[in-house]
Amino acid sequence: MEVITVANNKGGVGKTMQCYQLACHLANRGHKVLVIDLDSQANLSSTFGVQIQRTLIPEWLIGDVEAEEIVVASQGEEEFHHNISLIPSSRHLANLAKLLILSENEVRKNAGRKERLLRKRLEKIKDHYDYVVIDTPPMLGDELIMALVASNRILIPTQAQDYSIDGLEELMDTFEIIRETENPGLEFSIIPSMVNARRKIEKQRLSELATSFHITTPVRNLVDMQESISTKKPIFMMGNKSEGKKDYDALWASLNLQ
């Protein structure tokens, strides 16, 4: 089971979009995929057609309920959705930090530290899935840290813009700390996202970024992506003429996710 987290503490860089495309792509390749939505905005859940009354993710992490009790099948119609299971989110997840503090004893008993909770829970179900794809909220909170500790690799989408690159640098610091302490095997990939290559400034930022980090092929800011979310059809279902499909195909190939 490979655990992939999509993260950047800047919001609006296309994290949720990438999770959606990645999960569908992997499922379409015949892999069993578990999608975990750790963002209290629950956009990823709703793109899979799932809206829940109140998330039980905190209870799952603390150990009050089992994974089987909170996993929901993707509600999409296409064949590949059978390969996708989802741990959905709701706005109540925003209370996670508070709940974890209140449950300090359980957390200690369970995992020693709260950062390890998610990893602990995933270990129990590791035989059920080939891939776990985790969407994270745009902040360096408990959700993100837990996801990083539990993951094999992180994908960091970033726009070729100053704020997003700031967020990326912030995250890289956290990444280093986690690699040194909890998760030495963690790898990362930086993915230029929502890029408008016609803009000079974005081209310049991209080349600057490339000097300090290894970056993947960029995903452009195309209408295809927006349509994909609105119609709830992943980009690979669009015709071969679709520029968005080309971008993502190239991306998955470069990340070796086939």
């Binding site: 809206q51 829940i52 009354q53 309920v65 009790e69 709940l99 209140l102 359980e106 349509e227 119609t231």
Partner: protein
């Protein structure tokens, strides 16, 4: 060719899954904190249709009641009463002070939350969770309330902490107190016995000392923690008004250093052969080095 997209469906109109349907009811009620008041409706009721039964709060203060009455007269009732429907009358659950104040003005009717088909324990829990958020509830009433809340919601101490906003140790202590014998609790309330007297009494080993402490708590001669300490120290009965001579004893919360000091003093008193004395001295010094680290 223009593309067509499905119209946006608002979040409210989307189908919603309730995960709680899948897990046992029991667990869900433990997870939910606010289910107690579910299904209550708000209505204006005549005060004479409302009856007062057992209340969590058993002590009332007259002057503050007058103040409240004056306030309600001026501003009206801001927070509705909570009542439980039993047949054709309504039993008051929350708001006895407000109710009494309104009766004294007098007022005809008041807005009430009406509950139906709740168990006794649930009602006590509702009453308690309302009362606990305010101060000035006697600690025994509070403890009983927490126990009721625990029974009704089957909540863990952690959930109670979260739901009632009381610290964890407070919840734990309160549960200990609530589980004590009724006569002790009554006496403690009557004589205004300190909370820690009860807790320390509870922790005593069964025996003649515990029995004598119990007797003193029951007749109200032992109400302060300091008194209890004296009783425990002397192992007997306090005579009020007479100060007791303290017998020398180990320092409280004995630290390792203090222990070594006492041990050192004791060895000097003992008659030992020089070899043993030397060995002991060495041992003490070595231990002291370890402790100092």
């Amino acid at each position: 060719m223009t593309k067509k997209f499905a119209a946006r469906v608002t979040k409210k109109e989307r189908q919603t899954i309730d995960l709680s349907d899948r897990i046992e009811k029991d667990l869900m009620s433990r997870l939910e904190d606010n289910h107690l008041l579910q299904g209550a409706r708000l209505e204006e009721l005549r005060l004479k249709d409302i009856v007062v039964k057992d209340q969590v709060r058993t002590k009332f203060n007259d002057s503050s009641l007058k103040e409240l009455a004056a306030n309600i007269k001026e501003n009206g009732l801001i927070q509705p009463l909570v009542v439980h429907r039993e047949g054709d009358h309504y039993v008051l659950i929350c708001g006895e002070r407000r109710f009494r104040a309104m009766c004294s003005i007098p007022m005809e009717s008041a807005p009430c939350f009406i509950l139906e088909d709740k168990t006794h324990e649930e009602l006590m829990a509702i009453q308690f969770s309302e009362n606990s958020s305010r101060e000035a509830l006697h600690f025994i009433d509070k403890a009983d309330g927490i126990l009721n809340y625990q029974k009704a919601t089957k909540a863990s101490e952690r959930k109670i902490t979260a739901a009632l906003g009381i610290s964890k140790s407070e919840v734990h202590r309160s549960l200990l107190i609530a589980k004590m014998a009724k006569d002790i609790k009554e006496a403690a309330k009557q004589h205004n016995t300190e909370k820690y007297v009860l807790l320390e009494y509870d922790a005593l080993e069964t025996g003649s000392l515990k029995d004598s402490v119990k007797k003193q708590i029951l007749d109200g001669t032992l109400t302060k923690r300091a008194q209890l300490k004296r009783v425990i120290r002397s192992g007997g009965v306090v005579r009020p008004g007479k100060k007791m001579r303290k017998t020398p004893e180990l320092p409280k919360g004995l630290s390792a250093n203090a222990f070594l000091k006492v041990m050192n003093a004791k060895t000097k008193d003992m008659e030992l052969d020089p070899a043993t004395k030397l060995a002991l001295k060495k041992l003490l010094e070595e231990t002291k080095d370890l402790v100092d680290m």
